[in-house]
Amino acid sequence: MTRRNDFAFRIAEAVARGEAKAAYVVEDSLARIAARDVDVGAFTEVLAERARRKAAAIDADRAARRVLRPLAGVPFAVKNLFDIEGWPTRAGSKINRERAPARRDGALVRKLEEAGAVLVGALNMGEYAYDFTGENAHDGPSRNPHDPTRMSGGSSGGSAAAVAAGFVPLSLASDTNGSIRVPSSFCGLFGLKPTYGRLSRAGTYPFVDSLDHLGPIARSVKDLALSYDAMQGADADDAACRPSSLALTAGELTRGADGLRIAVADDYFAHGGFPEAFAAVERVARALGAARRITLPEAARARAAAYLITASEGGALHRRQLAIRAADYDPDTRCRLMAGAMIPASWINDAQRFRRWFHDRALEAFREVDIIIAPATPFAAPKIGQKSFVLDGVEIPMRANIGIFTQPISFIGLPVVAVPAAASGEAPIGVQIIAAPWREDLALRVAFELEREGVSQAPVAAAFL
């Protein structure tokens, strides 16, 4: 028996009960990737033999009546900036393919496999994660399974496309300025960007160390919660990973949104997008009974400061390679990194001071409310290759502005669940459910409530059923 297009938690339940073999589930995933990824471009490596060995071990444990772990037999894949033992960590680049193979898996890959999940491959991404589109000059674009002429979103485009196409029920991604939330929005999925410092980034290729987060993308909130719970824990190999006790969430989901103070972000977050972005926010707000509005002051400047820090840290990371191999960079990445490497230190010092100030203003807002709702993207997925859009009669560059609503939030490390919230029959678009630092549990509870009420659903794209 296979579990085609099932949620991760249902696969694990079926494997644990003996209703499905992990080997069959994994073979089905591999077969669909082989047959249909040519239409999507989500995968850059498929690890068939490794996955078969892992699945066989799980089935052997089941046959021996050993207790199976919570994600037993669940196929998953990771953005190709995660280390995978025996493979160079390419991070979407041409240059990194020449790196030595990783000597062991990244920390979160190990944790998911310890929880029983089965790694089946590595996923396409924007070069060095400096991207909101899902396009890549070296590997081609990862396409949106709901409409392959449209962007998957980036930089974790493959991570979203693989889940939306039903190749895997779960993927891992990174988010520096929106790279989990943007592709989740464009592909109609649930994505969790935890609090900065919550999950270990050890064994991944960095982009902006002071802004990088890792997290899961899935088609159900329970899958997000189960995988997030499995990945928690301090890690001395990541200096930013906070040594804290586990804050497990899967068992809390059914508490829903009752008693939570929920507000819609106004001011900056109520402008600069297309009508579908704000309609999605209102749909979510209505479902949650959230009439209150709240302002995060100076959010436009928060985005500007995030932009400066991103360009500067990213440019500094690549400075030496830019000196000798500029021609090997993706044209959409190269000159932004060069410009970033030249930013005066005083500008970054100002941006960091502002970061602390904006963080304190956000904490003040969270004394008034528990959850803030905001758009995830200013529009639904644009066409692949589209370079600009017109808003209120003004032509605006596409690439940098896809993240206008996500950047101010990750700038101060707040936890966010991106939930799908498009009207029936419309192109996917998402909404951010934002909580105070370390309160992923509240954002997940609200997302679960929206899923339970049918407001947020993340089906496999129709062409892949």
């Binding site: 002051p297 400066l308 060069m338 410009a339 490390g413």
Partner: protein, 67 residues
């Protein structure tokens, strides 16, 4: 350096060697365009109405996350 006053062409021409690379002429125009966007962002921050953030302590090393 005040981002409103900077001569971007001149700055890009002189700054690249100080950070270790030269800009191939075929990339110069796009690097300058990108630095113009960066300078605009810096100018926006510089012109903040509420400048109390300038009184925040300078960034210091903290062993752990910033939040």
């Amino acid at each position: 350096m005040n981002p409103d006053d900077i001569d971007i062409d001149a700055y890009v021409a002189t700054a690249a060697p100080t950070v270790g690379f030269t800009i191939d002429p075929q990339y110069r125009e796009e690097v300058t365009r990108q630095f113009t966007l960066i300078a605009r962002a810096a100018a926006l921050l510089h012109a903040a109405d509420d400048a109390t953030w300038r009184e925040e302590p300078a960034p210091v090393f903290t062993p752990g996350p910033h939040v």
